[in-house]
């Protein structure tokens, strides 16, 4: 394979892993718990920004052409972990402000507005986020290991793959565990879950945090791979793409996010690269978006459960119905009760 092809395929695979990690995080919120976090992409953006400022070093090192806060230069796994923590904390914080007070679907609108305004704020704040230009020249995390850029790209594929596998494992553990059962109960009927003693708010905040951390990891990987961060790439429509991916793949299932992330953002968005160029330059991207919209509507109408539907969880019934209180026992019980009342009556 030529170097260009290798580079292209490696990039595609890394993007795939990034999208899968994000979709897995959103699946915990939307598919598993029914938290409609329409600001999901800003957690990814926060993770990416965190990685950028923790690995760029001092702003003065580049002649001060871009401005940002902190400006540390930490070795590889630290920015990634910090990104996960920052994005997770942001998720819990934003969730704490909204989740207790708002009905689930109203929350979706509020989060959407928050996402839009966050993009606006970041674009306007020159000092902290370097405005619309964003940040560039983010150092490659393990560039020192190899001098060949092709080898580096494949190394990155490997690292991203391992991280993706770990995230999917964590998501799977969460979905299959008793905790996952509680989260599904919150999704299906929050009043019933509360009546069974589940702390609905705490559970929602938990997935805000865990899902946010996964978004942070995904954003961190993307920022260190593309070496750039710009507010325009974190517009709310990206959240829409992730939701579409989950609906197509199957929300709530283990494999749904993987299938959806590969089909919608990767195949659909990258597939158009092989279409012959026709019409004005905006035509093909526009048609791509129209296709995503049409696919979403078609899936919602015809296959609302997605390609890999969430399995119906069933539990074996008790084989033989026992009588509630055996006759003999009842007699004992009554006698005991009478005994308790004491002889003096």
């Amino acid at each position: 394979m030529s170097a260009a092809w290798q580079f292209y395929i490696a990039t595609l695979i890394v993007f795939g892993f990034v999208y899968i990690i994000a979709a897995a995080g959103l699946n915990l919120q939307f598919g598993l718990t029914g938290v409609y976090n329409f600001a999901f992409i800003i957690f990814e953006a926060a993770g990416a920004y965190c990685t950028a400022v923790l690995s760029l070093g001092s702003p003065r090192a580049f002649g001060g052409f871009q401005s940002y806060i902190l400006g540390l230069h930490l070795p590889f796994p630290l920015p990634l972990l910090a990104s996960a923590m920052v994005a997770g904390a942001l998720g819990v914080g934003l969730g704490a402000l909204t989740v207790r007070r708002l009905r689930a679907d109203y929350l979706a609108i509020v989060m959407l507005v928050i996402s839009l305004i966050a993009t606006g704020l970041v674009t306007d704040y020159q000092g902290v986020f370097n405005g619309a230009a964003g940040l560039s020249l983010i150092p490659q995390p393990f560039a020192s290991l190899t001098s060949s850029s092709i080898v580096y790209d494949w190394l990155f594929v490997l690292v991203a793959g391992v991280i993706c596998a770990l995230v999917l494992l964590a998501a799977r553990l969460m979905i299959e565990s008793p905790l996952g059962r509680s989260l599904r109960a919150v999704r299906e009927n929050e009043n019933a879950a509360a009546a069974l003693g589940k702390n609905v708010t705490a559970l929602r905040l938990l997935v805000f945090g865990v899902g946010g951390a996964m978004a942070g990891i995904s954003g961190s990987l993307l920022a260190s791979f593309t070496q750039a961060w710009s507010p325009s790439s974190w517009f709310y429509t990206e959240t829409f793409v992730l939701f579409t991916a989950l609906i197509v793949g199957g929300a709530g299932s283990n494999l749904g996010p993987v299938v959806g992330a590969v089909l919608v953002p990767v195949v659909l968005a990258e597939g158009s690269r092989y279409l012959p160029q026709f019409g004005p330059p905006t035509l093909v991207p526009s048609l791509e978006w129209i296709a995503i919209g049409v696919i979403l509507l078609a899936f919602l109408w015809f296959w609302p459960r997605g390609i890999v539907p969430e399995p119906k969880r069933t539990f074996p019934a008790e084989p033989v119905p026992r009588p509630l209180v055996p006759q003999r026992t009842r007699g004992v019980l009554v006698r005991d009760l009478e005994g308790e009342r004491g002889p003096g009556r």
């Binding site: 708002l102 305004i117 704040y125 429509t237 526009s286 048609l287 049409v294 919602l300």
Partner: protein
């Protein structure tokens, strides 16, 4: 003090456009229990219809009417063809958000596929400048304010003094009860979408007449302010939408003028955050409370 009046004047223009959009958005929410996120794209579509009419040599005010009618028809068709079938399947409200978002993206990018992403503008004269008590308007802006005022008054009269308006309020609060009382819910819903679509189209065209830039994202970028005004006023309430528009419009322009143009968005954000923390159902909360939006 002169600049205060000046910025308030700008704010009134923004508030007028917002008012048309927010009242329409909130009526659609009330009647169909749905956040129509295709709203911005419908505004853009109306603005482009007006652009085509205008480019074909029609007067801008005639184009405004045609654009508004097209948005009315488009909203009606969207509701009949897509939203109502989904709703009839007892689709959850979140899925409806995805549906409207998908429809909005299809419309927006269909516009972009046809007309490209370039900026356009109407062929019109903005009119001479007029001073009104230290405020400075163009005659076009004054007309925009007048249109919004007439529309707001019209919605008030409709909701309070006509059978249709009363039926609309009844359906918004409790659709099943309204149906059991003999209100023809389907006809009421259809007329609400026709009416609100017309307002939505008006908002789209006058927005472009005011800012004088039209591209495929025009309406969508304005939708943030509309949602903010609607949520602030109390979603579902037409009067809330008017109050919310006035507050958001004036505060945004004052912040832009006195502090920094960037504070236009930031001030909106601060207002919205405060509302969500203190009173998530908004200023006038009757419908939002009836629908149990927040607790």
């Amino acid at each position: 003090m002169q600049s205060l009046a000046l910025y308030t004047g700008f704010g009134l223009v923004t508030a007028s456009i917002l008012c048309l959009g927010a009242v329409s958005f909130t009526l659609q929410f009330g009647i169909s229990n749905l956040f129509n996120l295709a709203f911005g794209a419908t505004m853009t579509a109306a603005a482009f219809v007006a652009y085509v009419c205008n480019a074909a040599g029609l007067n801008i005010w005639v184009s405004l009417v045609l654009g508004s009618l097209s948005a009315s028809l488009l909203s009606f068709l969207l509701n009949r063809g897509i939203y109502t079938p989904f709703r009839r399947r007892a689709t959850g409200m979140f899925t409806m958000i995805m549906v409207t978002l998908g429809v909005g993206i299809i419309i927006q990018y269909a516009i972009e596929a046809i007309w490209g992403a370039d900026n356009r503008s109407y062929n019109m004269v903005t009119g001479r400048s007029v001073h009104v008590a230290d405020m400075l308007f163009t005659t076009t802006q004054l007309t925009v304010i007048a249109i919004a005022a007439v529309a707001a008054a019209g919605v008030h009269v409709l909701l309070h003094y006509s059978r249709l308006g009363k039926a609309m309020r009844a359906v918004a609060v409790n659709e099943r009860l309204a149906r059991n009382c003999g209100i023809p819910v389907k006809a009421v819903v259809d007329s609400t979408w026709l009416l609100s679509g017309a307002l939505c189209g008006l908002a789209g065209v006058v927005l472009v007449m005011d800012v004088q830039v039209l591209n495929s994202g025009s309406g969508d970028s304005f939708l943030i302010l509309i949602v903010a005004a609607t949520v602030l006023g109390g979603i579902g309430s037409a009067y809330g939408a008017m109050v919310g528009s006035l507050i958001i419009g004036v505060v945004a322009e004052l912040a832009a003028g006195y502090i920094n143009p960037q504070f236009k968005d930031i001030s909106t954000f601060i207002i919205l955050a405060a509302v969500l923390l203190l009173r998530p159902t908004g200023v006038i909360s009757s419908i939002a409370s009836a629908k149990e939006m927040a607790r």
